[in-house]
Every structure is written in structure tokens, then in C-alpha cells.
């Protein structure tokens, strides 16, 4: 065994790429096309300002339920993110807590993923409301839900 050499820069070639046993990412099977729920969500959202609070909640649940889990289709993901962002920003601050409490553990994890996705592309007013969503989701999901956003291999 060689005694420890101080610098390992004698390696200029990445020999691991020539190893026949190296880890190759498995190609995921294309998921069946999910029915697009955004028209339904939009319709529910349009009714919201008329004062029916439960519509926002239903829009929220529909958006969560129809989120594309397994797809690699970037366009579909973009659309789902856009829809979700619209739903999240249209909530009144006082109703966020009730919405978060109505979710189960997986729903909270999914919500956290969308919140961080929303942070990545901030628009004028989105960050403020997203921070409120984040605070409420953190209270329910704990630090574990944020860790799962960071380690997730299937991004939302």
C-alpha cells in the first residue's frame, strides 16, 4: 500500500468512468399521461373571490392530487407548478393554517416541494405568501419535510 501522498492530483483522468460496473441511472418508464387538472383548478379559483372560502380549499386539494409524480416531462411539471403557485398565492393568510392541517403526511411533503419550487422563481408577491405557507407547513411537517425536499429524487 502506498503511504499517504499529500496530493492526489497525479490523477488527471477520471478512471471511474471506464469501470464497467459503474452506476448508470436507470431510465424511468414514461408515466401515463395524467389528466390535466388545471382547467378545473382555474374554474375553482375564479369562484374564490366571490367569497366562497371552501372553493380555494377544493382547488388546493385538486392541485395536490393531480400533481404529476413520476413524469419526466418538463412541460407538464412547469404547468403543474404554475397552477400550484396560482392556488397558493390566492389564499388568504388566515386560511393557510386550515389548508395545511387538512393534508396528510405525504401531502405536506408535496406541499413543501412546491413551496421551494416557488421560491426558486420568485414573482413580485409570491415570496411573502410562500413564506407564510412555509411557516405553517414547517409546524406540521417538521425539519424532516424539508430534508425530504432536499433528498427527493423525483422532483416536483
Amino acid at each position: 500500500m502506498a503511504r499517504s501522498t499529500l496530493s492526489s492530483r497525479f490523477r488527471r483522468l477520471d478512471i471511474d468512468q471506464y469501470d464497467e460496473n459503474r452506476f448508470v441511472e436507470e431510465p424511468e418508464e414514461a408515466a401515463a399521461a395524467e389528466p390535466d387538472a388545471s382547467p378545473e383548478v382555474e374554474a375553482l379559483l375564479r369562484q374564490y373571490p366571490l367569497g366562497r372560502g371552501s372553493e380555494a380549499l377544493r382547488a388546493f386539494h385538486t392541485a395536490i392530487r393531480s400533481s404529476p409524480g413520476n413524469t419526466r416531462n418538463a412541460a407538464m411539471k412547469e404547468q403543474a407548478q404554475g397552477t400550484m403557485l396560482k392556488v397558493l398565492t390566492s389564499f388568504k393568510s388566515s386560511e393557510i393554517e386550515q389548508a395545511v392541517n387538512s393534508l396528510d403526511r405525504n401531502g405536506v411533503d408535496l406541499l413543501m416541494k412546491y413551496i421551494y419550487k416557488g421560491f426558486e422563481k420568485p414573482t413580485e408577491n409570491s415570496s411573502a405568501i410562500l413564506l407564510q405557507w412555509h411557516e405553517k407547513a414547517l409546524a406540521v411537517g417538521g425539519l424532516g419535510s424539508i430534508v425530504r425536499v432536499l433528498t427527493a429524487r423525483k422532483t416536483v
Binding site: S4, G142, G144, V147, R153
Partner: protein
């Protein structure tokens, strides 16, 4: 519970001898130090210097009183006590990356080493050549093997690795043992046979543990989840997404309860409900003494608000016993089915012993 601070540096790994009077640990360097308990103090009695790289795993065989250590120098050494000196024997593992974890089998006639070469080396002693020989389990491991645990039948081995999966292999060596009888994990067990593979969780599997009977295996992974596979339920996997930071070590303390600890610096209890096949969080086991709430002056409150945007000092200091992540848990007394004491070591250089008090046999466990 008792806490002893050995070092200012992390304790990389530790192992206890049979009667729990001596502890072997690696003080984050190339050596292994053995401490003996003298009343309330710990005194260092041996320093084992043979490795050229950090020692990543230590295991102490209770019956034969041998130590096995493995390190980042791609070597493993088996140490035997001759007189008052520990003598090492080199074991050639035939790996080209660091060794990460090592475990003696229950009958102590072989040991397993997990390494960054994406394989497990099963080493056994060949009498004719007076030499330790190893066999490799390679397929289908795709990344570093971080943790290992043996089934009580001395043949099955559970391995958790960085490719996000937990697997159970057969490590049957025909030279040293008889053919094993069927288990709930399967009946045909040739060397290297994959008996169980979990579906991917999304995190590196830091630690893995068989229950005392061997029909359950639990593992913790880096996405803050704890999972348990029950062979009695056709290998159904129950998983729990915890609200804590990732856990780094897990062990069974009864057939239905687990203790796990990690980056939150305190051990936590989890229970497995067999009928529903569900894991539940049982609470943190490090309940700090209620410290008197010192009143804050207005100036301090304003300073807190300015610096931290919050006026409460609840999270300013860690009030757990360990002041840094706990990296390893070992059962001290009672075995994995009726554990009454377990030990944790962490990155704060401290070792702490915890007592488990069973309030009533069917009720929840409490900790002393």
C-alpha cells in the same frame, strides 16, 4: 443515564467487550484506543496503531475476545490479546476503496466488511494456510455499503448502502459452517444470494439492524425516514417519515421497539405495531431537566429581534446530553429483545449510557 466526554473530537466508532468493562474507540485518527472503567473514571489502557488511514469500523467479538478493525486504508486487522498486548493480523480485503463498516458474525467464525468499492467482503479463517481469506458479494450493489448487520443464524447479512436500498444477502461459507435451515426470508441460501431488496427510499441508508429473532429488519436513511421490513408479513415494508433531522443509527430494544438517533443529538423511541404494520414515533428519550427561564431584559430582547428576527431564546443552546450528532448506538445489556441499557457515541466526543425502564410489560417504554 451517564455521560462521559472522552475527547474533543468526534468518536468515529466504538465497540464494547463482553462484560462491558472496556470500550474500544477511534478518536478520529488512525488509532484505536481502549479504555477501561475504573470506578467512575475511564483510563486508557491500550493504543492500537497499525492502520494508515482513519479507522471507520470496530467490532469486538464477545466470546473469543478478538477485535476487528477496518479503515480508509482499505485494510482490516484482526487483533488478538496475547498477554497484555493486542497483536494485529492483516486481512487482505481486495478492495480498492475505503472500508466503511465491519461486523463479526454471531458465531464469530467470520466477519463482513462493507466498503466504498460497492461490495461486501466476507472474511473467514482458513486453517490450512493460517490466513484470513475473503469472498466478495458484488451484485447488485451499486454504491458504498454504509452499514451491516448479521442475522442470528450466522448466514444472512443485511446491508444498507448509498444506492438508497437495504438488502439482505446470504453469506453462507461452506468451509466454516453447515447448511442453514430455512428462515422466513427464504430457504435457498447459496453464497451471495439476494434474499430481500427494498424499493428505493430516497436517501443513503445510514444504519440497519435485525431484530433479536431475525424476522424483522429496520433501517434509517438520509431522507429522515425509518423503515422496517417484516418477514412474517411477506416482507412488507412499513415506513415512517419523521419530523426530525436524518437519523444515523438505529437498534432494536425489544421485538417491537426501536431506538434511533442522529443529527438531532438525542435518541428517540419508535414502536412497530404488528397488526397494522405501522411504525409510530414514541417520543424523544432525552428529556432535559427544566431549566429556569431566565427573564430577558428589554435590551436583550431587542438584540435578539435584531439578530435573529425572533424574541425567544428557545433554540439558542442545545439542551440535549450530546452536543453534536449521535453517530452510533450499541446495546449494552439485555440483548436486542430485552435491552435494559444502551450506549450512544457522537461527534461531540462523548459517550453516554442510557437505562431503559419498562413501566409495565405491555405499556410504553420509559427512559431513566
Amino acid at each position: 443515564m451517564a455521560y462521559h466526554s472522552f475527547l474533543l473530537e468526534p468518536i468515529s466508532c466504538h465497540a464494547w467487550n463482553k462484560d462491558r468493562t472496556q470500550i474500544a474507540l477511534c478518536p478520529n485518527n488512525h488509532e484505536v484506543h481502549i479504555y477501561r472503567k475504573d470506578g467512575a473514571k475511564w483510563s486508557k489502557i491500550h493504543e492500537l496503531k497499525e492502520h494508515n488511514g482513519q479507522v471507520t469500523g470496530i467490532d469486538w467479538a464477545p466470546e473469543s475476545n478478538r477485535l476487528v478493525t477496518c479503515g480508509t486504508d482499505r485494510n482490516a486487522y484482526v487483533w488478538t490479546l496475547k498477554g497484555n498486548v493486542w497483536k494485529p493480523t492483516l486481512v487482505i480485503l481486495r478492495i480498492n476503496r475505503a472500508a466503511r463498516c465491519v461486523k463479526w458474525s454471531p458465531k464469530e467464525n467470520k466477519f463482513a466488511v462493507g466498503s466504498g468499492s460497492r461490495l461486501i467482503s466476507i472474511c473467514y479463517f482458513e486453517q490450512e494456510n493460517d490466513w484470513w481469506v475473503c469472498k466478495h458479494i458484488k451484485k447488485p450493489i451499486r454504491s458504498t455499503v454504509l452499514s451491516l448487520d448479521w442475522h442470528p443464524n450466522n448466514v444472512l447479512l443485511a446491508a444498507g448502502s448509498c444506492d438508497f436500498k437495504c438488502r439482505i444477502f446470504s453469506a453462507y461459507i461452506k468451509e466454516v459452517e453447515e447448511r442453514p435451515s430455512p428462515t422466513p426470508w427464504g430457504s435457498k441460501m447459496p453464497f451471495g444470494e439476494l434474499m430481500f431488496e427494498s424499493s428505493s427510499s430516497c436517501g443513503w441508508v445510514h444504519s440497519i439492524c435485525f431484530s433479536a429473532s431475525g424476522s424483522r429488519v429496520a433501517w434509517v436513511s438520509h431522507d429522515s425516514t425509518l423503515c422496517l421490513a417484516d418477514a412474517g408479513k411477506k416482507m412488507a415494508v412499513a415506513s415512517l417519515c419523521t419530523e426530525t433531522l436524518p437519523l444515523l443509527a438505529v437498534t432494536f430494544i425489544t421485538e417491537n421497539s426501536l431506538v434511533a438517533a442522529g443529527h438531532d443529538c438525542c435518541p428517540m423511541l419508535f414502536t412497530y405495531e404488528e397488526s397494522q404494520g405501522a411504525l409510530t414515533f414514541g417520543g424523544k428519550l432525552d428529556v432535559p431537566k427544566q431549566s429556569s427561564q431566565r427573564g430577558l431584559t428589554a435590551r436583550e430582547r431587542f438584540q435578539n429581534l435584531d439578530k435573529k428576527a425572533s424574541s425567544d431564546t428557545a433554540n439558542a443552546t442545545l439542551d440535549t446530553l450530546h452536543k453534536n450528532s449521535i453517530s452510533q448506538i450499541s446495546v449494552l445489556t439485555g440483548g436486542k429483545d430485552k435491552c435494559s441499557q444502551f450506549c450512544t457515541t457522537g461527534m461531540d466526543g462523548g459517550m453516554s449510557i442510557w437505562d431503559v425502564k419498562v413501566r409495565n410489560p405491555h405499556g410504553p417504554l420509559r427512559l431513566g
